[in-house]
Symmetry: C2
Subunit: 320 residues, 2 copies
């Protein structure tokens, strides 16, 4: 039986009361980037800004997912409502989900104060970042206290999403390969909080020391001005370090109540506006251009990609 | 002593004679996306199309880099001139290079028939893909027979670059972790040729069998219509399998001389045109829009990102 279509604007009210079906539908539409949902997102945007958005990123193999699972439990113990948005590096072709399976298997899915959702990175025009931030607003409207955005931390898009949160956590782990370590180096710089997971391992101390040394040498540093990123060891196996991690969240959040917070929120707003404008602009380019005709001439080398691209873009002029 | 500035158009001639200094300067400008180089790229584009472009991608830890090193040696033995463009997932913040160090250490750097270059993914407007393809054209002009584009194979941008080559090779390896395996699943689909590296390992047979089974089940399949992707085991340690791999290159290249080749080349041309147009369009958006004023209103929640983005994009109209 087909569900009746409810316009996005009419989903705002039930979503704000925490109705899961309404939240899920709004999120699906935001993720798909359907134009119809944009007015609703606009209205939601003006009502929210209460939730604490935590971006958690780390290379594959960093134990990030298990760590997030433990962290969510810890936050639930404090009586908080927690949402997790996992940015899913799914296949760009088949659309098959990668993190999806893990999420479905998670025993947290059934908890009344938890909402877990994976978002596929495939096919998003102008990147995923603005869709992810739309989803954050919907979850904020729905009354979640902590919204965790989990990304794999490879690829600029994922890094940008992590940056567009209030508090950015980078997860490292001992014993990863050289190439992974090198990719990791690129994301260490965006951390407000460093976590070294798998601290039950004997080689974890070296990883902790390495990150502390790096910070002392002035490499990296927080996104938040005037904040010294703590380095926290956790063990998902022994359930250790999460007390300290949650305390660091609160300290960083307190910091954000001051001037650095205003600065950070402005940066996020401008970033988000840019991403939204880029998406709309590329949509306009796609729908109002004749790529086929020009493309065939490029393929035949009668013209070159830049001349053809210039000719296409020249059709768009700004009003004066 | 500062080098005199030579306009890009004047670099075409020396670059076409294989002068490394001219090739390097053109590449640097293409990579930086400076507008001045575009006319030169346009002229180069109309002169090239001779080289065989091979995209090689694989997840971190797949032994891809060592494999490429062996492969280049094998191609040099055949008297070919070989260029390698390594798409480098460098830090988006410090700009620090990751693959760079490996490349500098490579003993191939000094070989007269080899050109190796790493390109950073940071900051490229509209993605790296069109800049990478510009670089390919410059190397084609310079007379390289095989141009290898090596990417880390995580992130849509990297996958797109691999797809934009004539022959796409996906490297797998035995014994990788679950999360890495899952990411890998997403890129297996784009392979014209599968390589399983580290075949000196005892568990390599299982990886070979897994990929063959997957292909038999109709999962994945080549980018090239009517082509059954071979699955080739290599061992960089024992220098085995490269004969077979090079033979597969030639078989695939022969296939591309027919109708599937024309189709593939048209797809690449249209893809490239799109990327170039997107880059120009976003440049136009950035330079002709007032993000600051709108951004502050969004930050103050006086308006929402979509309304502001619409207002910005509305300034751009198509001529009728």
């Amino acid at each position: 039986m087909a569900r009746p279509y409810i316009p996005s604007l009419d989903l705002i009210d039930p979503a704000s009361k925490g109705e899961t079906w309404a939240i899920a539908r709004l999120i699906s539409r935001a993720e798909a980037g359907v134009p119809e949902v944009r007015e609703a997102i606009g209205q939601i945007y003006k009502r929210v800004g209460r939730a604490h958005v935590v971006g958690i990123t780390g290379v594959p193999g960093s134990g990030k997912s298990t760590m997030v699972n433990r962290l969510v439990r810890r936050l639930l113990d404090d009586g908080l409502r927690v949402a997790v948005v996992a940015i899913d590096p799914s296949s760009p072709y088949s659309g098959g989900s990668i993190l999806g399976d893990r999420i479905r298997m998670s025993d947290l899915v059934m908890h009344p104060n938890v909402f877990i959702r994976s978002m596929a990175t495939r096919g998003a025009v102008g990147g995923m970042a603005h869709a992810a931030l739309d989803v954050v607003d919907i979850l904020d409207l729905a009354g979640f206290d902590k919204i965790i955005i989990e990304t794999v931390g490879v690829g600029q898009d994922e890094v940008e999403i992590a940056k567009a949160s209030h508090t950015t956590v980078v997860v490292s782990a001992p014993g990863l390969g050289d190439e992974i370590q090198a990719i990791k180096a690129g994301i260490l710089e965006i951390a407000d909080i460093h976590v070294v997971s798998k601290c039950d391992r004997s080689d974890a101390n070296r990883t902790l020391t390495d990150i502390k040394m790096m910070l002392r040498d002035g490499v990296g540093g927080a996104l938040t001005r005037g904040w010294a990123p703590p380095v926290i060891g956790t063990s998902s196996l022994d359930n250790e370090g999460f007390e300290e991690l949650v305390a660091a969240f609160e300290q960083h959040l307190a910091k954000l109540d001051g001037a650095p917070g205003i600065e950070r929120r402005e940066q996020i707003s401008i970033f988000r506006l840019r991403k939204a404008a880029e998406a709309l602009m590329l949509e306009k380019l796609r729908t109002e251009s004749d790529f086929e005709t020009y493309g065939q001439r490029v393929a035949a080398r009668q013209t070159d990609p830049y001349s053809a691209a210039s000719a296409i873009v020249k059709h768009f002029s700004t009003e004066t």
